[in-house]
Each structure stands twice: as structure tokens, then as C-alpha cells.
């Protein structure tokens, strides 16, 4: 039922796209057929793989750095509520800094290579995970923690057994938002200065007034995000199998 509905909606979107293409002309909106053709070309030439790999590796590295820090820091701060409270305005301020405005600075510091994008992605992703996981770690049930301590658990076990499992749904909420952001941050970073990557491809298409290239680049990024999200959903379903499922009841 869900799958059929999805397919129908997808077909509808394609139809609207195609209709727009016919109504406004190829200079404004490239048609799906042109894009499929372009995709075949750049797949054959190896361009697609090269740019996709570049963007993916920047996003993945930045994600590991920023996401990893954002995920671990709340656990490190778990036993220090006063330190956490003291640091709070600084984290908020750091989150408030518009990262895009920092991009030129990052290029100055880290060059136009991979490193500047990695740092950019890390800076964007960190906060999504940090604040979500912090909320998760704070929602520990003190009665559960007391119970496992009585059973002989050490602090390490409390962290792993209680804090981690309590925070896990929050981790996934953070990942759900952060993973697409990691990809788009890498792409945006490549707009600004790069010699490869999907952002570079899109930007080059813009500079050369090549709408088909632009649409193709955006399509590839979208598909990439969808694929990553589908993978995440699967991991989440397996990791949170213990929870009473929403499929049983709508609350």
C-alpha cells in the first residue's frame, strides 16, 4: 500500500516536471529525458563516479569528524552537569555562527583541496548530533541507573548500558538530519572553491549556461541523499527493534 502510493506520487512528480519542461521550454527547465541521457554520458566517461566519490569522501570524512565529536562529547559531559551548563552558551554561540559566511576563511586556512570541505562539513554536522545526543543523555531514567549500580555495574557499564541505549533514538534523530546536511555542506563547499565534486560539476554547468548539467548534478545529489537515508532507516530499524513499535498504534 505504502509502496504503491510512493510510486504513484513519484510518477506524479515526474509528470509535473515534464509538464513544466514542455510549458517553459528547455532553457528554463530541462526535461527528465535529457537528464537520463546526460547521466548515461557522464557515467560512461567516468565523470559521474569521479565527482560523486569526491563529494562522498569529503562528506564522510567531515561527518566522521564532526558527527563523531558531536556524538561522544555528550557522553563525556554526562557526569559534569555544571561544566555542561557553563559551556552551554558557548555551544549555542558556535552553532549560531553562519557556517557559510566562514567558508572563505576556511579556504584561506585549509586551501581549496579536500580539507576545507571536510572542516566545513564537520562544523555543520557537529551541532545536529551534539544537541540531540545531549538531550538523549539527559533523559536517562535515574531509577534505571540506580538499579544497575545496585546490581554491581560500574560507571562504564552505566554509560554504555543506560546512557547509550537511552540516547540511541536521539542519535538516530540527529543522524536523520545530519547526514543529508553533510552531503549538501560538501556540495556547497565545492561551489566556493574546488576542482572536482558534484558541487564543482553543478557550478561549472551554471558558469557554462548548461541547464541540463545543472539539473543532472542536483538530481545526483538528491538520489545520493535518498540512498543514504534509506540505509540509515534500515540500521535504525535493526538497532531499535526492542522498542514498542509505532506500527502497532498511532499515538
Amino acid at each position: 500500500m505504502i509502496v504503491r502510493g510512493r510510486v504513484a506520487l513519484g510518477v506524479l512528480c515526474l509528470a509535473i516536471w515534464q509538464a513544466g519542461h514542455w510549458a517553459l521550454g528547455a532553457d528554463w527547465i530541462s526535461g527528465p529525458v535529457d537528464i537520463v541521457r546526460r547521466l548515461a554520458e557522464i557515467t560512461a566517461s567516468g565523470e559521474l563516479a569521479r565527482h560523486t566519490m569526491a563529494t562522498l569522501s569529503e562528506a564522510a570524512l567531515g561527518f566522521l569528524l564532526g558527527g563523531g565529536a558531536g556524538m561522544l562529547l555528550p557522553f563525556a559531559l554526562r557526569r559534569s552537569p555544571r561544566l555542561t551548563a557553563a559551556l552551554d552558551p558557548f555551544f549555542t554561540a558556535a552553532m549560531g555562527v553562519p557556517k557559510l559566511a566562514l567558508a572563505p576563511l576556511l579556504i584561506l586556512w585549509f586551501g581549496i583541496g579536500v580539507m576545507s570541505k571536510v572542516v566545513f562539513v564537520a562544523a555543520v554536522v557537529f551541532f545536529f548530533l551534539f544537541f540531540n545526543v545531549l538531550a538523549g543523555v539527559r533523559s536517562i531514567d535515574p531509577r534505571l541507573a540506580a538499579a544497575v549500580r545496585v546490581l554491581g555495574a560500574r560507571e562504564w557499564t552505566v554509560t554504555w548500558e543506560i546512557a547509550w541505549h537511552t540516547a540511541l533514538p536521539y542519535v538516530f534523530t540527529g543522524l536523520k538530519v545530519a547526514l543529508p546536511r553533510a552531503i549538501s555542506a560538501a556540495v556547497v563547499g565545492e561551489f566556493i572553491a574546488a576542482d572536482r565534486g558534484l558541487g564543482y560539476y553543478i557550478n561549472t554547468a551554471r558558469a557554462m549556461a548548461d541547464p541540463v548539467g545543472l539539473f543532472t548534478g542536483v538530481t545526483v545529489v538528491t538520489v545520493l541523499v535518498l540512498a543514504i537515508d534509506a540505509g540509515l532507516e534500515r540500521v535504525q530499524a535493526r538497532s531499535l527493534a526492542w522498542r514498542p513499535l509505532a506500527r502497532d498504534a498511532t499515538v
Partner: protein
Amino acid sequence: MSEGAVLLEVRGLGRRFEPRADRGEAVFAIRDLSFDVREQEFLTIVGPSGSGKSTLLNLIAQIDAPTEGEIRFRGRPIAAATAGALRPGWDRQFGYVTQDDTLLPWRTLIENVLFPLRVQGRLSAQTRDRASELMSTVGLEGFERYYPHELSGGMRKRAALIRTLVYDPPVILMDEPFGALDAQTRTQLQADLLRLWNLGRKTIVFVTHDIAEAIALGDRTLVFTRAPARVQSEHRIPIARPRDVRTIYGVDGFAETYERIRKELQ
């Protein structure tokens, strides 16, 4: 009715709770509370709700520290107003079955039951066998792979009880463990508890607000006053073991004891 050595001494115990900012005064949940628990004794405690019974068990279990007085275990002070860091469970000497469900929701029943053995590094073929033996004693076999939320309240309570029995702490604290269950499940669980207790006599401190339960299970019953809690009276339960909780109401001595305690509580 055991007459073992004194195992646990509670002396002049007090616990004061500070009020939240500008909301009333500090209150003592318990104050000036003293009593003994003997080795292998089944001690039950009844009192009006809010009389600090759970606070007392938290202090014995060392998940909370007293404001006054001290607790001695085998003659050694284990909790005092002046003591340093808490040591929950005092190195696995105290098991604690609480009122709320504290099974880990993300672990299956068998993982929950084996959890204390795992964190204590005592998981072996032998201890596993003992765990499954205990599980089948209370009718939990076949449910090992279920998550807690998939089971009834009575089954979760049984699992919580087994999780404590499995690592064999010499003292078990129980805080109205059967409070939230229906009458039938409750009687069944009381019977299970008595049977398990008869298998390997432990020292049990069992808190309840149900007079009948206190009499049916205990060797001795303490009646607590309203907060700040103190021991109002002490009652030996004149009923021989083994007991059958289903027919306990008709046994000689039950009615008189019940009446006596009921009057005290009024």
C-alpha cells in the same frame, strides 16, 4: 521464625529532604529510626503511604545517604551521615526489588536476568543453569527472548525478582514489589516468593502497605508511624512455615494479628 545473629542495625536514622526553592520547609521522611534485622529473617514493614518506607530502603541499598544516624551491616557501619561516597548495593550484599519496573527495556528477558552476572563477571555454564532453573520455577521459561514491554506486569515482576536472586545477595530489599498487580497475580507471586525463600533462606526486608501481605510473608512485622517515620510497634507473626498464602486468612493467629496491626495504623 529465625533467631540468627543480628545482621543489620539501623540506629537513629534520619533523612531530611530540602524543599525546592521558596516552597515550604525541609521535611524529615524518617527520623530517629532504630531497629534490627536478623540473619535469615523475613522482616515486613507496614506503614501509611508517604511514611518514608522507600526512603529507608534507598538508604540501606546505598543509593541515598542519611542526614542523621547510621546503618551497620555485620557490625560494620556502612552508611552514616558523615560517610563519603555511596556504594550502591554495598558490593552486591544488598539486592533491591523496587516498586517500579527497572528491567532494561532494550534487553530481552534472559539478558535482563543474566545482566548482574555479566557485569559482575560471573557468567558461567553453572550460573546460567541456575538462572534458567529460577526462570522455570516462576514459569518464565519460553519467554527468554521477549522484551519486557511484550510481557505482563506480573511476568516483569517475576523477572525482576529472579534478576536479584540469580546473583545471590545475602540481603534482599523489596519495596512494595507486588503493589501494582491484580489480586490473583499478587497471590501467585507471594507464593512464588515464599517458595524461593524456602529454597535458600535469605534475609528479606519487605515493605508494603498491605497488612495481610505483611503477615502472610513475614516472621516479624514492624509498623511505622506517619512521616517522619519511626517504629510504632513490632509484631511477631505466630504462623508456622511453610505457609500457603491462599489459605492464610483462615489460619490461627492471622485474624488477631491483622486486627492488632490495623488498629495501630489508624
